[in-house]
Symmetry: C2
Amino acid sequence: MAISTTKSQNKRAVSRNVVALNPCRVCHVRELSVCAALTPDELDRLDALVTRLRLRAGQIVFQELDPADHVFNVTAGNVRLTKMLPDGRRQITGFLWPGDFLGLAFADAYAYTAEAVTPLGLCRFSRTALEALFKEMPHLERKVLSVASNELRAAQDQMLLLGRKTAREKLSSFLWQLRQRSRGRDDTLDLPMNRADIADYLGLTMETVSRTFTALAREGVLCLTAANKIVVREPGTLSRLAL
Amino acid sequence: MAISTTKSQNKRAVSRNVVALNPCRVCHVRELSVCAALTPDELDRLDALVTRLRLRAGQIVFQELDPADHVFNVTAGNVRLTKMLPDGRRQITGFLWPGDFLGLAFADAYAYTAEAVTPLGLCRFSRTALEALFKEMPHLERKVLSVASNELRAAQDQMLLLGRKTAREKLSSFLWQLRQRSRGRDDTLDLPMNRADIADYLGLTMETVSRTFTALAREGVLCLTAANKIVVREPGTLSRLAL
DNA sequence: CGTATACTTGAATTGAGTCAATAAGTGTGG
DNA sequence: CCACACTTATTGACTCAATTCAAGTATACG
């Protein structure tokens, strides 16, 4: 009778005298996510509600205007959030990373489409179950409010970028943002998304993104060791360009 | 002994057997604001915490990076929320109207500057007092979360606008948005803000905004009866242009 | 009624986009 | 392991939407 650590909705794991590990307890992104607000016992409650999903790159988590029935936590991989105009012009409003919360929209329908940029791991919760949990765990609701408030701040920064920065400033800001997030590995950035995604995030074209990469590399600020691998050679210059 | 309806922190008004009106009870924007979530008794509690402020056009409510000690409700007039780059380039991330909530940022500092566009009426609450109220009135916290979620949706729409729409589409979207908000008066829009504000909201220059107004008027979509008074002549065309 | 402010219009410039051609990866099957 | 197809990224030449700079023209205000 081996202890399962990967299957969800494991009844045994929630029984009060089992010290052993339900998946939520050993979750490696817990401290990065809304779940950081929960006690071990509360995590057991949550574990009973979760459905774990795996998606391949390019698959859709949900589409704009779908009924907003679920919320998610990203456990692995990256998500892009996109909005489209009727003629196909696309804006990416954000990229998500492991630990990020997805589906925050207390409305009937999602306001954007969420797609897997890379192979993806997700924890899915029904909205109604989460809202029921809010009643018993006000600190969880507080945590979600603080997530919303952070997203709002990020959205305002992005409006400044989209409305007022040049192509070079936009790309520098983007790279600087990535560098801040992946505090750890020296100065090598891995870009999980392609040029078109970066362009649609920054309000540019793929060609302009490519040209700007080349220009920054020519000037010695960056070094492109591969299309998706970037070494920041002059962090100071990059941060100055990012404003 | 006349009943005061304008002075705040009126002890008499909160005593439980006074039927008469504390300012919150007769507030004409209550149903538009977070206060709509509160019962009359709860409004009395709130009334005891509020400071009412009047500002002149151009005055600053708070600045980016100020400690975020207060939250506000707009009771009259309009607010602009701005972010600046070091060299003075400005992005307006939103305009507020009577009933709107201001200061949503569960961080130490405000993420943007808030300025009066017109003469302004505000209700001010200390953040700590509000957060204490959350503990007793979870429906108030829920309401604030729903406000945050609406702002997030608006921010995403604005990112799509800034990143992907043309000048003509931007201005049409802006006017359409105003028309939706002021559902009521036929098709006359009053613009409280000047051309520079509109430009900084849409990621354009004043000149481009002005030229685009002229073009839309020349084509018969609009009529500019005064610089700040616009009659929408062809709402269908405008909505199509707005995408 | 003059002066400041806000808005409009014109002419010239330019940053980023479009269209088109290569180049560099990436994977597949022989 | 290589040849082929396919996708993704880069580069070049040209275009254009929006900006910049510079007058003008309303509008408001003491």
